[in-house]
């Protein structure tokens, strides 16, 4: 564990130093124009942001479901060689359920790109 601690310490310190380097070494001449948001070159229209439609909502849900399913695969894959054909039968049942869910999401249009 000492290795993990040392790695996190060294990389964390390096990151902090790099983030604050400009504050220490750079010039400091602020003015209002410089501090306005850049927004890709056009003058900004309002403070902050309005609510924007997030079309990635469904994608995030699907990710949660499928990534948990991926996690269940890992222990199975590790013992596959020892268990032999029993493991294969068990996994066929699991993959079947997964595929049913996947096809349902597909048919419902969860992967479609629209508002």
């Amino acid at each position: 564990m000492i290795e993990l601690f040392l790695v996190f310490l060294v990389f964390g310190l390096l990151g902090v130093v790099l983030v604050f380097m400009n504050k220490l070494l750079g010039p400091k001449k602020p003015n209002p124009i410089k501090e306005s948001p850049f927004e890709c070159g056009s003058p900004y229209l309002q403070e902050g942001i309005n609510p924007v439609p997030i079309m990635y909502y469904m994608v995030a849900f699907l990710f949660l479901l499928f990534d948990i399913e991926v996690v269940f695969f890992f222990p199975w894959a590790l013992v596959f060689k020892e268990m032999g054909s029993t493991a294969l039968v068990i996994m066929f049942a699991y993959i079947f359920v997964l595929v049913v869910g996947f096809v349902y999401a597909w048919k419902k249009g969860a992967f479609k790109w629209e508002l």
């Binding site: 000492i2 290795e3 993990l4 040392l6 790695v7 996190f8 060294v10 990389f11 964390g12 390096l14 990151g15 902090v16 790099l18 983030v19 380097m21 400009n22 750079g26 400091k28 001449k29 602020p30 209002p32 501090e35 306005s36 948001p37 850049f38 927004e39 890709c40 900004y44 403070e47 942001i49 924007v52 990635y56 994608v59 995030a60 699907l62 990710f63 499928f66 990534d67 991926v70 996690v71 695969f73 890992f74 894959a77 590790l78 013992v79 596959f80 060689k81 020892e82 032999g84 054909s85 493991a87 294969l88 996994m91 993959i95 997964l98 996947f102 597909w106 992967f111 479609k112 790109w113």
Partner: protein, 357 residues
């Protein structure tokens, strides 16, 4: 005490290798794009008139970046704005420590592994750290309080989580073949032979898994053809409101991800530090010849082979970046969900059936 010193020494060595390679990857990218577009590329930076095809350019860029002014937009959430580059840099950089660079070195009677973190769950550690990196993307998008940054951050998060599923599933087949998650023993397994002469590398046992992993990993690096979060010609991306070295950290993260992906592909699918037919005491050729070598030459061969493989995949990714146009968003989602995920499920079932025969 000497153990801690050895670990610190290994961390420093890995870090300097990693940062040097990152810096020179920017040079490689400029030179390679220049060659492909029939230009000369960066060649002006010099020390006392000594140019050496622009090899000093990355250092000039880095020094310039350090002395830039640091400003944050007025409306931004200051703390999140400051945290984002740190998070993005830290989690990607840490992953390099779990990669084996070679087998072991014997120095003064001590056996030192050429790997810093040799976990039993090394592969899961790398996957976890890589997916924590998306916090950097989404925090920079949210913390800047700029619409373009927010769109970029959202796109980045959606893209990474979409391809994360395919990335995880493509490795299941590999774990079935080498039943371990420990990267060093995974590399040891790849030293064995199929039919006595083909090295047992992942790419020969899991060709489909390799292709899926490569595409998913390319999408994770957020570069052309998957550069929608950045989109330099449309929204600039999640780091539009950053300046100086904070922006530099995002750019470094980009190049670090290329190196991480190359080291992962090398370790998992191309035998890591294995040289075909090279054992711990020298070469044993399948046609019966032998060529015995001293220990330190074997170590040099191993580390050299690892480096050559990593350089090749870095070069290949830069080549892909300058060859293909950008995907449209729905095409990106289609490729991830409708092609790569079903294909990786087929890969798992196929691997299972072949292995139980």
């Amino acid at each position: 005490m000497s153990d801690i010193l050895i670990v610190l020494f290994k961390i420093m060595g890995t870090l300097s290798w990693f940062l040097t390679l990152t810096l020179y990857l920017t040079w490689l990218e400029r030179k390679e794009s220049a060659v492909m577009q029939d230009r000369v590329g960066a060649n002006r930076a010099n020390i006392l008139g000594l140019r050496i095809i622009g090899l000093f350019q990355p250092f000039a860029d880095a020094i310039k970046m350090i002395f830039k002014e640091d400003f944050t937009p007025r409306f931004s959430k200051k703390f999140l704005h400051m945290m984002a580059p740190f998070v993005s840099f830290f989690f990607v950089a840490v992953t390099i420590t779990a990669v084996p660079f070679g087998d072991y070195v014997k120095i003064a009677g001590k056996t030192v592994k050429l790997q810093i973190l040799d976990f039993n769950v090394g592969l899961l550690f790398i996957l976890a750290m890589l997916s924590l990196g998306i916090y950097g993307v989404i925090l920079s998008g949210w913390g800047s309080r700029s619409r373009f940054s927010l769109i970029g951050g959202m796109r980045g998060a959606a893209q990474i989580i979409s391809y994360e599923v395919a990335l995880g599933l493509s490795l299941i087949g590999l774990i079935m073949v080498y039943p371990t998650l420990k990267l060093s023993s995974m590399v040891h397994f790849q030293g064995e032979m199929i039919l006595g002469f083909i090295p047992q590398w992942g790419v020969f046992l899991q060709p489909l898994g390799f292709i899926i992993f490569f595409f998913a990993a390319l999408a994770e690096t957020k570069r052309v053809p998957f550069d929608l979060p950045e989109g330099e010609s449309e929204i600039i991306g999640f780091f539009a409101e950053y300046s100086g070295l904070k922006w530099g950290l995002f750019m470094m993260t980009d190049f670090m991800e290329i190196i991480i992906i190359s080291t992962l592909i090398t370790t998992l699918f191309f035998g890591g530090w294995q040289v075909p037919w090279l054992a711990a005491d020298g070469f044993h050729f399948p046609w019966g010849g032998e060529w015995l070598l001293p220990h330190w030459i074997v170590v040099l061969f191993q580390v050299g082979a690892f480096n050559i493989k990593v350089f090749f995949f870095c070069w290949l990714q830069v080549l892909i970046r300058w060859t293909y146009p950008r995907y449209r968003y729905d095409q990106l989602m289609d490729l991830g969900w409708k092609l790569l995920v079903p294909l990786s499920l087929i890969n798992i079932v196929g691997t299972g059936i072949v292995m139980s025969l």
